[in-house]
């Protein structure tokens, strides 16, 4: 893939880099701004071609990251590049918005130069970039060297890393995507899992991770022992540090970790999951006077687990007034700007059931159609259940071997969160 130029814009160019000089930057940027401001939001697509220039962009906060090319480029790579660029900037500047771009323009230029040359992506790993592009820039005294990692086979880790305390943190995070139809049947459910690591290990450690992976159990003949506990992961993706060939052979996950935070692996399970938090809504509209809601929610996981910070978001018509609520637990708030009520339950124990009633006034004349639409917005739920994974995945061991022979402590946490968790209203 090749990009002629990259722009960072909030519809007025903030910073741009014309890598190849084969496009007129101001014209292209003006064309892009026109597209964004004049195309109906419903019709906008992330990739479009105008006058032979192809624009592909991603939106982050209020910023657009735009790549322009004249060729039949590999668009998924171009978009990947833009995502990576955003990650690099985020890593450097924390929250990324127009102010942080403007405040750091010098370093942005440096980064734009290192991440792409003549339209071809170069180094995009912020950990590596940080080693030779620093905010302080005080390197007058020290002769800077391109990091070995740039040329090393282990491109994600530099040699000679030292930590006082050798620790590694492992978070197994599962997100539950769920769609329940108006009639209460589960239309689709899938689990997106990730094993996230924070590694603070010295030297060049060799790590080996053991999971209760069904296929591995089968391969090693442990079926009987692991009966009912093994998990069949459907599609696993690894960080580039994992030796893929080894995994293909004997399902061993072995790797040299990068330093700091990274996602070791992600997986997806497309299995039928019982909705962890079930919500039922009975709505009684009395046109022209009032509307009443009865919301019933039920936690469908083991009673020893607790869901934290549960938010049940129920859409209401846009023209309701004088809200009043009655609930057995938690607090309820009406958010007029989102046309919704939010029921907050700080701690929701497993196998419990709660009720909430909401009462609103309705204007005597109102837009019936606006009310019609309110039914169609689904109820969505946010939650976090610690010490629990829906899939049942477990870390069995994490072995750390380094030639200096230090003892390192692995810390493991499990958490299940809502993903795209929607229940349609009847």
């Amino acid at each position: 893939m090749v990009a002629s130029a990259v722009f960072i814009t909030d519809l007025k160019v903030i910073i741009s880099r014309n890598y190849r000089g084969d496009i007129p930057p101001s014209t292209c940027c003006a064309a892009f701004s026109t597209y964004i401001s004049e195309t109906d939001e419903l019709d906008r697509v992330p990739i479009f071609t105008l006058d032979g220039y192809t624009y592909s962009y991603i939106k982050y906060n209020n910023l657009y990251f735009l790549g322009v090319t004249k060729r039949n480029s590999n668009v998924s790579l171009l978009i990947t590049f833009l995502y990576r660029l955003v990650n690099v900037f985020k890593d450097y500047f924390g929250e990324l918005e127009d102010e942080s771009i403007r405040d750091n323009f010098v370093i942005i230029y440096e980064l734009l130069d290192e991440t792409m040359d003549h339209g071809y992506p170069q180094a995009l790993d912020s950990k590596i970039l940080r080693e030779y592009i620093t905010q302080e820039g005080n390197r007058m005294e020290v002769v800077s060297k391109p990091p070995v990692a740039l040329t090393n086979a282990v491109s994600w880790r530099s040699e000679g890393i030292k930590h006082k305390k050798n620790e590694i943190f492992l978070d197994v995070v599962e997100k539950l995507n769920l769609l329940v139809g108006a009639n209460g049947t589960v239309l689709s459910s899938e689990i997106i899992g990730a094993v996230k690591m924070k590694s603070y290990l010295s030297g060049m450690p060799e790590l080996k991770l053991g999971l209760n992976d069904k296929i591995m159990f089968e391969a090693t003949g442990r079926q009987a022992q692991a009966k009912g506990k093994a998990v069949e992961l459907e599609d696993i993706k690894f960080h580039q540090c994992v030796r893929l060939a080894r995994f293909e052979n004997d399902r061993t996950i072995s790797f040299i970790p990068p330093d700091g935070e990274f996602d070791l692996m992600t997986y997806r399970l497309n299995t039928h999951v019982k909705p962890l938090i079930w919500v039922e809504a009975v709505v009684e509209p009395h046109a022209g006077s009032r509307i009443e809601y009865m919301i019933k929610t039920k936690s469908q996981f083991k009673s020893r687990s607790i869901a934290n910070n549960v938010e049940i978001i129920i859409p209401v018509p846009s023209d309701v007034d004088s809200p009043s609520f009655k609930s057995s637990v938690g607090t309820v708030t009406y958010l007029p700007d989102r046309d919704a009520i939010v029921w907050n339950i700080k701690q929701f124990h497993g196998s419990r059931e709660y009720l909430m009633r909401a009462h609103f006034g309705l204007p005597s004349i109102g837009a019936e159609s606006a009310r019609e639409n309110a039914w169609k917005t689904p109820i969505s739920v946010k939650f976090e259940i610690p010490y629990f994974t829906v899939s049942g995945i477990q870390v069995r061991y994490l072995k750390i071997i380094e030639k200096s022979g230090y003892q390192a402590l692995p810390w493991v946490r499990y958490i299940t969160q809502n993903g795209n968790y929607d229940l349609r209203m009847a």
């Binding site: 060729r71 590999n74 995009l124 491109s155 995507n177 459907e234 795209n420």
Partner: protein, 825 residues
């Protein structure tokens, strides 16, 4: 415009300030604007760089730059340069500072160096002579001890884009290609391409570049592949040998995702030696599907498709293998990435029907998704419907209909109809699905008498053409729906259906009568549909319709609002006059239903699918059309063999695969009720209306003009020339040719039809013919000039006709068009 926009984006900047202050003021900077921050007080807040862009700013900067050498601390020096760059970022033209900036270039501070180099790369071309002064420093830095500086200097040196300095660049570049440090080497490799783009011959570097394909550093190799690809763009990319390919594949795991993608791209132009090798390569690629990068995953899919080209029996396994990774990426990716992936899913569904069928639930539309993704999913869902899942999918699609968004509702309705008209309706369950879809659409038809019911009516019409057996459940509600009103297109569809199934719609004549009586209130599409519907119904229920039809035809022929309408009414009138039996044959002649397994003709895109396989994982898939339709020629890849074959296939086929940008006149906008039978009839309407004295004659013969030309007619060159010069132009037209002929072929084809050649010749860009013919009936002579542009694809011919007494110039043109197989002549 650029400057103004950029400047106004920063609060406090004065957009009235002009960056180009007259040179006279240089020595006496205006004191009216606020002073720049006191150099002795270093700016602590970086955003203050952007606030004082006031009048005289560039001059202030120049003065600041002149104090640069006097500044003692590094921080302050940096502040000064940073200010210049800040102005540059704002879009203010600071190119006039070039000479002053050059004085600063001799610095040991890397931060300042980078900023000055950036400035140089931006403004060097504004003043070549001055910029050349920086060459020495840059060249010296190219041999600095610090590889970072070497790389930086080389990158800047090659990015200046100045032709005059090429001679200075060549030597440092050659040295850098041999540099011990990979960072410098990878910069040098791209430097070669930059020289090439400046128009310099880089053949001398090629041997070294080929060596670098073996470099120990993957980043160097990656750059090298891309550069060689671009240098050989005319041949479709760098030469791929078995040796190179296997070496690259063996170190596949060392590349980053971008390198990986470019190696895999090469693989798509490599043919493995034997089956064994193919399998080995595929095993090698398999782990890449485990990387969480959509670019690499798509690249592997493309490679798999390429490798199995000769082994179609493996394709199902390939599709099975690649499906889970795609779905995972869709479940977890950012919206833009998901958009691209879904486009690929859509393509795969078309190329390989059934592939994603079991996964249909994962492609359900979610409430929060961006509309680009929602709409895309709606176009994919009907493709996933099979006998078992169709009901689920239809139910789900119905959920979307009442969504807030009317566009969404319309698309959902179209999607519902597609479930019935596309391949899903094959096999035993076919009837069932037709019934279900019809039932849902009938429900929707009666919803609101607005956009939704109109869309449902149009969709219903399409479904009934594929499933005529469902008409019995539709017939009873048609009248009621029509009375509800709605949009033009929907009403026209309802009228069409009433005409088509008038025998079972009891109240049909009375429903139509109302519309006929309120003729002027109808929209054009409705009027057109009404015309056809009434004529059709007349054949089915003559006694009830006779009076209505009479009134209708009078009104329609007197209606001056639309030529099309007027002509069609006249046509029906004359047809009926010529005898109802014949008229019925013409009007009801064509088959109205469509073959369920085939779907509509416009949905048939087999050729495109084949061509797109070569361009998988590029923009072509996103647009669903080949790259030469949207990429300027200069930036296209040369045709590799594989692509060539496909293009050949196109040249030979008579169907234009996609809406190609030809010069052929676009066909007249077809009314919604159009079908084959009508298309023929409408062809008539294009011929000039017959003079009134001929109106008693039977309706004109079929569209093809019958010309009786004198095949033994001859005139000599002198006469031809004098006639050509004296006669006025009778007809001139332009059209695309679907076939490519040689001069001799055209000559013999035309002679056999009685169009004779006076002279012909081939020029660089065109064929030119001077032709003549004589009409046997009227003895009038026609002179023709035919110019065929051979640079265009398809070829375009331009025809000019002159005649002495004849009035059939258009018929001659049609005849010639017919002989040469022209489109739209």
């Amino acid at each position: 415009m650029y400057t103004a926009t950029a400047r106004s984006s920063f609060p406090g900047s004065n957009s009235a300030a002009s960056p180009s202050t007259p040179p006279a003021q240089q020595q006496h900077p205006q004191k009216t604007g606020p002073l720049p921050p006191d150099p002795s007080a270093p700016t602590s807040k970086p955003d203050s760089y952007f606030v004082d862009a006031k009048k005289g700013e560039v001059n202030e900067l120049r003065n600041l730059l002149r104090t640069f050498a006097l500044e003692k601390t590094l921080t302050r020096k940096r502040e000064i340069i940073k200010k210049v760059i800040a102005y540059m970022t704002l879009g203010i033209d600071v190119s006039r500072l070039l000479p002053d900036m050059l004085l600063v270039i001799e610095t040991r501070d890397l931060v300042i160096k980078k900023m000055v180099y950036l400035y140089l790369c931006t403004y060097a071309s504004s003043s070549e002579e001055v910029a050349i002064m920086c060459i020495n420093t840059l060249m010296k830095d190219c041999s600095n001890d610090d590889p970072m500086v070497r790389g930086l200097a080389l990158r800047s040196l090659t990015s200046l884009r100045l032709k005059s300095i090429i001679e200075y660049v060549v030597e440092p570049l050659r040295k850098s290609l041999e540099d011990a440090n990979a960072y410098v080497r990878k910069t040098a490799v791209l430097g070669v391409l930059k020289l090439h783009d400046l128009g310099h011959n880089v053949d001398n570097f090629l041997p070294r570049m080929k060596e670098l394909l073996d470099d120990g550093d993957p980043a160097v190799v990656y750059n090298c592949i891309e550069v060689l690809n671009e240098l050989n763009a005319d041949n479709g990319g760098m030469e791929v040998t078995r040796d190179i390919m296997l070496k690259l594949l063996n170190r596949l795991s060392t590349f980053n995702e971008f390198g990986l993608a470019s190696v895999l791209n090469l693989l798509c132009r490599y043919t493995p030696a034997d089956k064994n090798e193919t399998f080995q390569i595929m095993n090698l690629l398999d782990p890449v599907l485990r990387t969480s990068n959509s670019g690499s995953v798509l690249a592997v899919i493309k490679s798999f498709l390429h490798l199995t080209n000769s082994m179609p029996e493996l394709r199902p396994m390939v599709y099975d293998r690649v499906k889970p990774p795609i779905l995972t990426l869709i479940a977890g990716g950012g919206p833009e990435q998901v958009y691209v992936l879904l486009k690929h899913v859509k393509y795969l569904c078309e190329a390989n029907p059934g592939m994603f069928d079991p996964e249909y639930r994962q492609l359900y539309v979610r409430y929060n998704e961006p509309t680009s993704i929602k709409y895309l999913k709606l176009s994919i869902l009907p493709k996933l419907a099979s006998g078992d899942t169709a009901v689920d999918i239809i139910t789900e699609l119905c959920e979307y209909v009442s969504e807030n968004d009317v566009r969404m509702a319309k698309l959902a309705i179209e999607a519902i109809a597609k479930v019935a008209t596309e391949r899903a309706c094959q096999g035993a369950t076919s009837t069932g699905i037709g019934e279900i879809v019809t039932g849902k659409l009938v429900e929707l038809c009666a919803v609101d008498g607005g956009a939704v019911s109109s869309a449902a009516a149009s969709a219903l019409k399409d479904v009934l053409r594929a499933h005529p057996e469902s008409r019995f459940s539709v017939a009873p509600v048609l009248g009621r729906c029509l009375r509800m009103g709605g949009e033009e297109k929907g009403k026209a569809s309802l009228v069409w259906m009433i005409g088509e199934f008038g025998d079972i719609v009891i109240e049909a004549p009375y429903v139509l009568e109302k519309l006929v009586d309120a003729w002027d209130e109808n929209e054009e599409l409705v009027k057109l549909a009404l015309l056809t519907a009434c004529v059709k119904l007349f054949f089915k229920r003559p006694p009830e319709m006779q009076g209505i039809l009479g009134r209708l035809l009078t009104q329609a022929t007197n209606d001056v609002s639309s030529q099309d309408l007027h002509d069609r009414a006249l046509l029906y009138y004359r047809l009926l006059k010529a005898g109802p039996e014949n008229a019925e044959k013409v009007v009801n002649g064509g088959e109205q239903t469509i073959e369920p397994s085939k779907g509509f003709a416009e949905d048939d895109e087999e050729e495109t699918i084949k061509a797109l396989r070569e361009e998988f994982n590029t923009l072509s898939i996103v647009y669903g059309s080949r790259s030469d339709h949207f990429i300027t020629e200069k930036y296209r890849l040369g045709t590799s063999d594989a692509v060539q074959n496909v293009t050949d296939a196109f040249a030979n086929s008579t169907v234009t695969p996609t809406p190609a940008p030809t010069l052929a006149p676009t066909p007249a906008p077809a009314p919604p009720t159009n079908n084959d039978a009508y298309a023929d009839l409408l062809g008539f309407a294009d011929t000039p209306p017959s003079p009134p004295n001929q109106s008693t004659a039977p309706p004109a013969a079929p569209a093809a003009p019958s010309m009786n030309l004198n095949k033994s007619f001859a005139i000599d060159g002198g006469k031809f020339q004098s006639m050509w010069q004296s006669l006025p132009e009778a007809s001139s037209s332009m059209s695309a040719m679907s076939k490519t002929y040689t001069v001799a072929e055209i000559d013999s084809l035309l002679t056999s039809e009685g169009i004779l050649t006076m002279a012909s010749g081939e020029m660089d860009a065109e064929f030119k013919f001077f032709l003549y013919a004589q009409d046997n009936d009227t003895a009038s002579t026609y002179l023709l000039q035919l110019v065929i542009d051979k640079m265009c694809e398809p070829r375009v011919c331009q025809l000019t006709i002159k005649t002495d007494t004849g009035n059939k110039a258009d018929d001659v043109a049609k005849l010639l068009g017919g002989v040469l197989g022209n489109a739209g002549m």
